[in-house]
């Protein structure tokens, strides 16, 4: 009767798991999990960067005499789904390690899983500070500069503006926004005890009521505004703020605002004169980056986004780690990750042994309009190592 269906389902399930053969010899598989359907504008450049690196590594003969294979899967933006897929990658695809993810909560779920299953997890893009500090663990490493690091970079630049004393903040109403505001406040207050924070606005993520938020910010009469909104929220905030004259004669600081993912959709309406972290891909003159840029454009007929370079660097890190470890044994790979140094298009990067955070930095500069598009000017690359807490401080943050 009806339960036949269940039976059929069950049998089919069994059959399905039988279809997948054991791993081929001569391959090292990397399990890649990211929000490919939830935020494709950010994750597809990531995947392209990662694939480019894998192709280059394999062309050069692979690593440990084996080819690298990237098994990419979509987590649907759900932590539970990500854990299920990680389980599948581990037991069915026999991946050596897991990497990827963009949303912080998914990164945290995978970190918790990695600890339980004793699998190496290299978090690529999630920004949450907790990932390497409060909830850091032995098996989790993170590449991209964290919320704290990027906020600290902006705060140290903003501190140089003597006459900006009254600050207001606007950030999406979730962990990332809260962390980003807290870090900025902490560092700026330390550098400039004379500044005061006159108010904070917390619009729902991707549900900003921009007119109302701008009105509320204007009411606080700040000299400086710290913006953490991004994506469609940023577009609405910028348009509304400009029309209502909010940004006039004010210093506006934008976390991640200079990243092509967020700046480019604004086209000719991109904000001008904001202090931002971002990725001025067209103007970076180092040889390593020029080589990366040319290869990326040749391979994908598109320019790189911040996700692209993070994806590329993630695979470079894995490559360097495998060489150092000389094996795909998890404990050996974890040991190799600690203090791992490698060169990347963004410059030399090191994974700190104390908290497993890499020292990959960020580009900080001022937004301008160039050929009808937003761009960054007067930027500099700030090395992440200079914006991380000292080893002693970090140990306190990472109570284990």
């Amino acid at each position: 009767m009806k339960l036949n269906l269940l039976l059929v389902t069950g049998v089919a399930l069994g059959a399905l798991s039988a279809v997948h053969p054991a791993i081929a010899e001569g391959e090292i598989k990397i399990g890649d999990i990211n929000s490919y359907t939830r935020l494709p504008a950010h994750t597809i450049p990531y995947k392209r960067g990662a694939q480019l690196a894998i192709e280059e590594i394999n062309k050069a003969g692979g690593v440990l005499g084996k080819k690298l294979v990237l098994v990419s899967r979509d987590d649907q933006g759900k932590p539970g789904e990500a854990v299920k897929i990680a389980e599948q990658l581990r037991s069915r695809d026999k991946v050596a390690l897991v990497s990827g993810s963009l949303f912080s909560h998914i990164g945290l779920a995978l970190a918790s899983w990695a600890k339980q299953r004793k699998m190496l997890y290299l978090a690529a893009e999630p920004l949450a500070d907790a990932l390497v500090w409060a909830k850091g663990n032995k098996y989790t490493f993170r590449l991209r500069p964290s919320t704290y690091m990027q906020a600290a970079m902006l705060a140290s630049e903003a501190a140089k503006k003597e006459n900006v004393k009254r600050w207001a903040t606007i950030a999406p109403n979730y962990a990332y926004g809260k962390d980003a505001v807290a870090a900025f406040k902490k560092v700026l207050k330390r550098l400039r005890p004379d500044v005061m924070f006159v108010g904070s606005q917390w619009p729902g993520l991707f549900k900003i009521d921009a007119g109302a938020e701008v009105q509320a910010l204007a009411k606080m009469k700040p000299d400086g505004i710290y913006n953490v909104t991004f994506g469609s929220d940023l577009a609405k905030f910028v348009r509304e703020g400009r029309t209502r004259g909010l940004f006039k004669d004010k210093l506006v600081v934008g976390l991640l605002t200079g990243e092509p993912e967020y700046l480019d959709p604004l086209k000719g309406e991109a904000p001008v004169g904001w202090l931002v972290t971002g990725y001025p891909w067209a103007d970076i003159q180092t040889a390593a980056h020029k080589k990366f840029l040319a290869a990326y454009q040749a391979r994908w007929k598109d320019y790189p986004r911040i996700g692209s370079i993070v994806g590329y660097n993630t695979m470079l890190a894995i490559n360097a780690m495998l060489k150092k470890a000389g094996s795909v044994d998890t404990e050996k790979m974890v040991t190799a990750m600690k203090g791992l140094k490698f060169d990347s298009p963004s410059g030399p990067i090191m994974f700190r042994a104390v908290d497993h955070q890499s020292t990959m930095g960020a580009w900080v500069g001022w937004t301008v309009l160039k050929d009808g598009m937003g761009a960054m000017a007067n930027w500099q690359y700030l090395d992440g190592a200079n914006f991380l807490p000292s080893v002693e401080e970090t140990k306190k943050l990472r109570k284990q």
Binding site: K2, N4, P79, K84, K135, A235
Partner: protein
């Protein structure tokens, strides 16, 4: 003064798009009784098509406004296509079944939109000559806001004229009041429904198009607007356009002023308003109680019957299969891998969740749109217990259903006073409030405030918001995959048997009596509300148990376990399987989870999943368990579906 006026006008203008979308939703619901979840997708399509049309026609003068109108009409035509090709074929299905069809449409539209317009957000083109601002008492207001403020009343008047001064409108109003009577008078309902779908969808499309100068088009718009649109429709009163107008303005203004006074309230405000309105005015501001002759008269449901011999044999077979699976895994690890066990555990968890929802939805006759509150509530109860008291897993498995039951007692007290869609929306509101409490870590804020008051040192984090609670893994003895598998199978099967036992006890019969005829049940002295309240609590407790199994299988819990999408997943499972049968939710949950898993490896999996759901809806309008009713099913000896039910 200037600030107050400008804030007021900002609030009114931000309500415009919401009003258009909500009025369309309200019109469609009023006539067809379809809860159209795809309405948010129509809003999104309105934006995307609007951008494309403006690019094609140029953004100067009349061309711009023409482009927006074309977008609205185009979306209306898409709505008609959905009605003719899909909904028309399932009007006879059980109420709310159309809901899954529209859910399939959402998934398909998401991937088609991604495919056509690409992943990047598109900033909306500005309206010609309206990109500046006017100054009011020294404060600036964007000129386009004035257009938006004017649009809502114009549309409202237009709709009023349409419904009160045209024959078509009169027929629509008549159909809203009594569909059967209109049909009996010889009105061709088909065209009426098609017309209503056109109008409703076009309004959503217009809403998407006119918001372009304030924002743009992106792929998350559909889900972002739909909850808000439902809130407006329900607060205003389902089917009442004037109510939707009033509610949109009210919510627009409360948001705008609320943001200034309580900047942190953005996630919760709207749902608080809805909860308060529904508690005091159960049919919304301008809504009317549902008249008995209202929707389609469904044939009285066949009573539940204990399983026949054949079904029992199959059931035992499935159970034996489940029990033998780990043995096969140990003997043949290359064929039955670790992941098979993981997937079956996941399926079993959702089976219990779906069965719990079905308990209140099928026999209880109350459709909950917010059951994830109890699933997540159970998960959080267990996780918090472990985090703060280091409680062992055995205790946490008791705490989860108890915690979820307490939550259900609280929510249920308010909810069971309502029926139908209003009940559903109030559960949604409470679930959303529960979600926001976890998401914003409200308990920690309360603890901090209390701590300051009494001079304690409060903990900094309780639910830790979006960062979730990590490291909740099974006890040592249950940590092997096989043991946890048996634990899950054991608890789920036990849960299913208990739920079934309750339904065949006098309590279950009473519950069904109340669903089939509230009046007669009351006449023989049954306190129906109390029975429903208890049933809601039982249902919540079992959803909580499923939540506990979930958190221990994943190792962490996040507010996503309570979000709307999770509630809808459960709803989909029950409806997909068949709401009239106890086997339905089991089959539905297994099929949905399994399909989700196999499609997930493919790109454009949403399209495939959506198309599959639509196909199932068209082929099996009574759910998967009605497979036996089809000619193919009969040939296979599956027998009639509606009889063998438990």
């Amino acid at each position: 003064m200037g600030d107050f006026i400008v804030t007021l006008l900002t609030g009114l203008s931000s309500a415009a798009a919401l009003f258009l979308v909500a009025s369309g939703l309200s019109i469609i619901f009023g006539v067809t009784r379809i809860v159209n979840f795809a309405h948010g997708s129509f809003y999104m399509l309105g934006s995307y098509i609007g951008v494309t049309m403006v690019t094609a026609l140029g953004s100067g003068g009349i061309a711009y406004w023409l482009a927006l109108l074309i977008a609205a009409v185009a979306v209306g035509v898409i709505g008609v296509a959905m009605e003719v090709l899909l909904l028309r074929r399932v009007y006879q299905a059980p109420e709310l079944f159309q809901l899954i069809a529209t859910f399939g449409v959402i998934l398909v539209i998401q991937d088609v939109t991604l495919w056509i317009w690409g992943p990047e957000d598109i900033v909306g083109p500005r309206a010609p000559g309206l990109s500046g601002a006017v100054t009011i008492f020294g404060e600036k207001l964007p000129e386009y806001d004035l257009v938006l403020i004017a649009v809502s009343p114009v549309v409202l008047i237009g709709l009023w004229l349409l419904f009160n001064r045209t024959r078509w409108g009169t027929l629509v109003r008549a159909a809203t009041l009594d569909r059967q009577m209109v049909a009996a008078l010889g009105v061709n309902q088909r065209w009426l429904f098609t017309g209503v779908l056109f109008l409703g969808s076009a309004l959503a499309g217009l809403g998407g198009a006119i918001q372009l100068p304030k924002g743009g088009a992106d792929l998350l718009m559909d889900f972002n607007i739909i909850a808000a649109a439902f809130v407006v429709v329900v607060v205003g009163g389902m089917g009442s356009i004037g109510g939707a107008f009033l509610a949109a303005m009210l919510i627009g203004l409360l948001q705008t002023f609320g943001i200034q006074i309580f900047p942190n309230s953005t996630l919760i405000l709207m749902f608080l308003v809805m909860a308060v309105v529904l508690i005091f005015r159960p049919w919304g501001l301008l809504g009317k109680p549902e008249s008995p002759g209202h929707g389609p008269v469904e044939a009285p449901e066949a009573p539940l019957r204990p399983a026949n011999r054949k079904l029992r044999i199959i059931g035992s077979g499935v159970l034996a299969f489940l029990l033998m699976l780990p043995v096969a895994h140990l003997l043949l690890p290359s064929i039955i891998g670790d992941f098979t066990l993981v997937l079956v555990v996941e399926i079993m968890i959702y089976v219990l969740f779906a069965a719990a929802l079905h308990f209140i939805m099928g026999p209880g006759g109350l459709v909950s749109f917010g059951h994830a509150a109890f699933f997540g509530g159970g998960a959080y109860a267990a996780a918090l217990m472990v985090k703060f008291t280091d409680a062992p897993m055995e205790i946490a498995f008791w705490v989860a259903p108890i915690g979820a039951a307490l939550l259900a007692i609280l929510f249920g007290w308010f909810c069971v006073r309502l029926t139908g869609v209003y009940f559903a929306m109030l559960t949604l509101a409470f679930a959303q409030i529960a979600w926001a409490i976890m998401f914003q870590d409200a308990p920690a804020s309360v603890a901090k405030a209390l701590g300051e008051w009494f001079g304690w040192t409060a903990v900094e984090q309780i639910t830790a918001g979006d960062d979730g609670i990590l490291g909740i893994w099974p006890a040592e003895w249950a940590s092997s995959r096989v043991t946890y598998y048996y634990l899950t199978v054991g608890l789920v099967v036990a849960g299913l048997l208990v739920l079934r036992r309750i339904l065949f006890a006098p309590f279950g019969y009473t519950l069904r009596a109340g669903r089939d005829s509230p009046l007669r049940a009351a006449a023989i002295g049954i306190d129906l509300k109390q029975h429903q309240w208890i049933a809601f609590t039982i249902s919540g407790a079992f959803a909580g148990l499923a939540g506990a199994l979930f958190v221990y299988s994943k190792g962490s819990v996040f507010p996503t376990s309570m979000e709307i999408a999770r509630s809808f997943d459960a709803l989909l499972m029950v409806l997909l399987g068949g709401v009239h049968s106890l086997v339905g939710p089991i089959v539905g949950a297994a099929t949905f989870t399994w399909l989700n898993d196999i499609f997930n490896e493919l790109s454009y999996w949403r399209f495939l999943l959506g198309a599959t759901i639509i196909a199932l809806v068209l082929l099996l309008p009574n759910g998967l368990v009605s497979l036996g009713d089809t000619s193919v099913g009969r040939r296979l000896g599956l027998g009639p579906g509606r009889e063998a039910l438990a």
